[in-house]
Structures are given as C-alpha cells and as structure tokens.
Symmetry: C2
DNA sequence: TATTGTTATACTCTATAACTATA
DNA sequence: TATAGTTATAGAGTATAACAATA
C-alpha cells in the first residue's frame, strides 16, 4: 500500500491528486504510458528553457551521475546516461571546460578515460545551484503539502524506471 | 507523512515505495526539484530513442493537445505546448504532411490559422499507436501494482505542473 | 500601427561512421 | 584483432529576428 496523500484524511485526497472526483482510478498500462510520455515531453521542454546561468540538463544529469558513480569511465557514464559515447565526450568536454570535472587517463589501461567531479563541480551539485530549479521549485512550492510529499515518493519511482538496465 | 526511499543509491532501493528501513525522509523543495529534473531529463532521453514507426515526441504531444483543445489557433497551441510559434509551425507542418491534422484559415480573422485533427489523426491518438509506448508500457507492466497506481497519480500531478500558465 | 503566422538562420543535443591509440 | 574514446558529419528540435498578410 502506498500512501499517496495523507491517509488519515481521505477527504483531502481527491482534492490533492488529479481532477477526478470519483477518487482512485483504474489506469490501464498503455494509457498511463501514453500520458506519462506526454507529460515528460512537455515538462522536459519547460525545464530546458530555464537556461540562464546554469548547466544544460544533459550536463547537470551527467555531473550528478559522475558524482554518484565516483570516477566512472566515459563509456560507463554514457551507458548510465543512456547516451552514445560520442555524445558523452561532448558533454564531459563542456563540463571540463567549466572546471566542474577532470579527465584522468587510467594508469592500468591507457585507453580508458576516467571522469571525476572537481571540488567546484561538487559545490555546484550540492548547492543545487543552477537557477534552473527555480521554475520547478516554485511550482512545487505552490503545491498542497500532500502532493509535494507524494511527489517525493513518486520521483523515486520515476528514477527507478529510468535506471533499469534493459532498454 | 510519506515514506520515501533514500534516493542516493537506487541499486539498493526497496521494491516498493513504502518500506525503507532507514525510515521517513524529509524532502526539501529544492532537492526534490533537482531530482525530478534529472529524472525527467533521463526519462525523456530514453523515450526519445523509441523512434521507430511513430511520431516524434513533439508531434505526439502537439497532436494530443490539438485534439484536447478542439481547433486551437496555432498561437494558442504553441503557448499550450510551451513552444514558440515558429517551432509550432514546423511541428504542425509535419503533422499535416502525415495527414494527421488540417490547417484551416479562420473566416473571421484571416490571419489566424486553426488546426484540427483529421480522422486519421484521431485514430492514431486513440489507438495510442506509436510503438513508442512499448518501452514504457513494458516497464510499467513490471512494476508492483501499488507503484503503478501511484504512478497514475504522479502523472496527473506532472500534467498539472506543466499546464500551469505562469512560466 | 498591432497582431498572427511564416521564413531564414543559428544553436544545442544527439546519433552513426570513420579514425586513433592502446591492448 | 578488439576495445575505449575521439573526431567528423548529419539530423532532430528549438530559438530569435526579420518578414508577410491581415486587422
């Protein structure tokens, strides 16, 4: 059982999540897939526009993965990010130019390039600075508390969805 | 209160949402915004790859909005999709070439172009055909039931988030 | 003159193919 | 010969600026 909204007060649940006054709805897989796909497409577009000052979405995502993975090889990073190696070369190149990551040739196998976040890169990550969160954070701020909490739980779900290996 | 799995390491994450042994986690707005942004970026990338056979994400999204709005003007559609008018001109042009929408000059104000889905376009929408849902539908199929239900709620939330007027 | 949409152009992100260097 | 990464090139998708048609 998942508590989407505060379970103690079911009367607020309808108001919080979705528009359907009939309450919880059976959602078919394909319809849900379709809606989720559209929502992700649009939200991504909105987020892409918040370009001023920070990293691009790809850069931010890669930087987060770099820190999480430690010192991944460029290939491993590309796989993790669902991107081809040449694309990752460019992304990492940009991050390197910004001073947020460093490239180190692996001593054991000199074909391999390992990527690590610099101190400055870690700063950027930790502070979540990028200004690009402003729009989202503002939207989240306006949500009812239950919705925001639910969104936290469900974002974790989204994350798992993306991180599955089998594409 | 919502019980959220620790976002730090998905490989150790629990199967369903509510059972993190570390206990409840407070989710700050900015951290949540950051995680949601990354998740959306990555998921969008994954979905973008399912290109075979169907519409591009932009086209699918626009087509869905066209049907929902009835016969929107091109400008209204652009606003709804968070895209500039020139971009929408291109997207609609592609959909028109595919035979899924038709452009009609508004008789009252001949500057205005109204866009409507053709019968074939509505077919495409209804059948949710695009093959591109395959990946997502498959992933959803593997989720525990509770998670899938929760995801339905999340999607509704996401939709509302995107549809807000103030950018 | 103001507004709606289009055309022209450029930038970002990503992909595939070909190449370099190590192994 | 096989592998890791890079360079070269091309194709989406979107943006801004300049333009056309209409009001």
């Amino acid at each position: 059982m998942v508590f989407v909204s505060a379970p103690a007060d079911p009367s607020t649940e309808q108001a919080a999540i979705g528009h359907d006054p009939a309450g919880p709805v059976e959602v078919s897989e394909s319809e849900l897939a379709s809606r989720l796909r559209l929502a992700v497409t649009r939200l991504h577009r909105r987020l892409r526009q918040q370009t001023a000052g920070g990293l691009t979405p790809s850069q931010a995502s890669a930087l987060a993965s770099i820190e999480r993975l430690g010192s991944p090889t460029l290939g491993a990073l590309a796989a993790r990010e669902s991107v081809q190696p040449p694309s990752m070369t460019r992304i990492v190149g940009a991050l390197e130019a910004l001073g947020y990551v460093s490239r180190v040739v692996d001593p054991d196998d000199r074909r391999v390039a390992r990527v690590a976040a610099t101190a400055e890169g870690q700063c950027v990550l930790q502070r979540g600075r990028t200004l690009k969160n402003a729009f989202l954070a503002d939207q989240l701020h306006r949500l009812p508390d239950e919705d925001r909490e639910a969104l936290g739980a469900l974002t974790a779900l989204l994350e798992r969805l993306v991180e599955r290996e089998d594409p």
